[in-house]
Amino acid sequence: MYVYDEHDRQIAAERVAQFRDQTERALAGELAEEEFLPLRLQNGLYVQRLAPMLRICVPYGMLRSDQIRRLARITRDYDKGYAHFTTRTNIQLNWPNLEDVPDILAELAEVEMHANQTSGNCIRNTTTDQFSGVQADEIADPRPYCEIIRQWSTFHPEFAFLPRKFKVAVNASEKTDRAAIQVHDIGLQLVRNDQGELGFRVHVGGGLGRTPMVGPVIREFLPELDLLTYLEAVLRVYNRYGRRDNKFKARIKILVKALTPEGFAEKVEAEWAHIKDSPTRLTPEAIRKFQGYFTEPDYETLENATALLSEQRFENREFDKWLTHNVSEHKKPGYASVTLTLKKTGTPPGDVTDYQLEQIADLADQFSFGEARATHEQNVVLADVRQDQLFELWQRLVPLGFATANLNTLTDVICCPGGDFCALANAKSIPVAEAIQRRFDDLDYLYDLGPIDLNISGCMNACGHHHVGNIGVLGVDKKGEEFYQISLGGDSHHDAAIGKILGPSFARNQMPEVIAKIIDVYVDKRSEEETFLDTYRRVGIEPFKERVYA
């Protein structure tokens, strides 16, 4: 994992001092609200429905146990003792006091954390696959490149006032895409060319929000050394030509569409030609240095614990379910990756208490080399667990509520904080998630249904990624009342697709029944081995419409 050197520490300390100064001037009335707004947003601070909200950055999802303990302490000392994992692998506090935020940032800086650029019209936290470095089929570990992008984008002087927010994601496997790169402003897919050289396929102009789009490829192969100069060219074209007259048309996807992907790519190439050989071009030594931070932990030489696990499965059916669903393969024999599901019915998806955070830190120390990872599905991963310790870990997870064996099923809901917290929301989202979780409380039935992404957003901004849910739910406001619109067929993976709207929206209390009808159609129509998405793609939206609106 990346470790700060004296440069990072100095920049972090100066950032805290700067925000302290800015906060003091804001409180003294020297900064108008609209002048302070982008400054506080770029330090993670929103003013929300009930209180300020602080979004703390977790770069590409990686956390050390000492950082998790510090987060727990901060939630206790400055907040109400809980925090929320977001769909951008960040962590939000819901109740800090504005005047405490500089102190919170100082506490974070002590453990090499920050809240930089977690909001505002700037380059946001770069995200990637939660199984980076431990999956067998990745082209290369994406995290060094994420850290390279983090440093390049941090306080970039040219791109601090973009037309709109800007999100970059990196994916490393050609088979799976857990980073949803095609619905990002820039999606980078690590690839090797025919000569075996490492580089990226570059998607630009994907995104959710009001005008969801799958990002087209604007360059099939970008050599790794050219990563930053090319990003700089894309950002410069966007900064200069992205629309600033209408907030809803300001994302880069609108520019890419207006120019056509080919036209946009030409502009980028023309800009890039001027800067591609500048000192911003990466060097092999620099990349090696960043890679040096993400070396393998001290794995022991082990055999797969197949016999032991079979025995434990046989003796304990709950463990068996958990092992099947929440534990995934690891590239090293004898190891596995465990997902702690933060989706227990009755707890808002992604929420954790200070106690739970401290427990995660302890478990990370005991079972996974002191590291944990946040996922964009709002779960937490311990990536390097010995197979012969899985049973013991599971026993520890059960009382914490982290062993609900529903990973990737219908009740592993992605859900934004919604109208319970967020000032932007049109409707609540957490109670909808909970009602659906209660309606589908039979794990065996969920397993039979197979993988289904259910994503819920409380408004058009789509923090709950509803457009790319196999089933997407969007909260809408109709004359002051909350309604929910459903879309089907969305997908955030390699065959990325935006869901289609089913039809008129529903009241909240109808939602569990409506979802049940949609599921019934799938069960009726599916052929052997078909997932929900397969069936939807084969039969189309009509059968679902007929049943739901019958």
Partner: protein, 168 residues
């Protein structure tokens, strides 16, 4: 007569004035003997008349493209870039292009909605003078120009990104 902040935070007074774009049908109103910044396209339109004068500079608005002058910018004694609103970040790209692409080495001035907390970004992108919005406390400019002692990425102020400085 504006107070002008220099990149080192010092404050001086100079006599350059910004001449607005004339209304349609009107002609540019430049007082004799008064150093003036005129809209870039009008300077280009009157190139024969203006070139070589040390009392006529230009200003770009945020939607202007410095490409329209290209390397002719080197012939100018002073260039200003207008920030119509401080959240309009196009001026940062314009500044870098003037410096890094078209080789402009004269004074580059930020005008318009110029606030304290953007000064260091402006400095890094090649601005070396700033006319702060009148209601802002100019005594704080020096501090705000120097919140950070170093940066991760290259810009106009340094062509060495941190990853290269670390390697050495």
């Amino acid at each position: 007569m504006p107070d002008v902040i220099a990149a080192d935070g010092s404050i001086r007074n100079d006599s350059w004035v910004v001449v607005d774009r004339p209304a349609e049908g009107e002609s540019l109103n430049v007082a004799a003997g008064q150093p003036a910044l005129i809209p870039a396209d009008l300077w280009l339109a009157g190139y024969e008349h203006y070139v070589g004068r040390d009392d006529i500079g230009i200003w770009f608005d945020s939607h202007d493209e410095p490409e329209m002058l290209g390397e002719k910018v080197k012939e100018l004694p002073l260039i200003a870039v207008n920030f119509p609103r401080f959240v309009d970040g196009r001026g940062y790209s314009i500044a870098r292009l003037l410096r890094e692409r078209f080789g402009y080495q004269g004074e580059l001035r930020a005008i318009g909605d110029v606030l304290l907390d953007q000064l260091q970004f402006m400095k890094r992108c090649g601005f070396d003078s700033y006319v702060l919005r009148a209601d802002k406390d100019i005594s704080k400019a020096a501090r705000c120009l120097n919140f950070f002692s170093q940066a991760y990425q290259a810009a106009t102020d340094t062509d060495q990104p941190l990853f290269r400085r670390r390697a050495s």
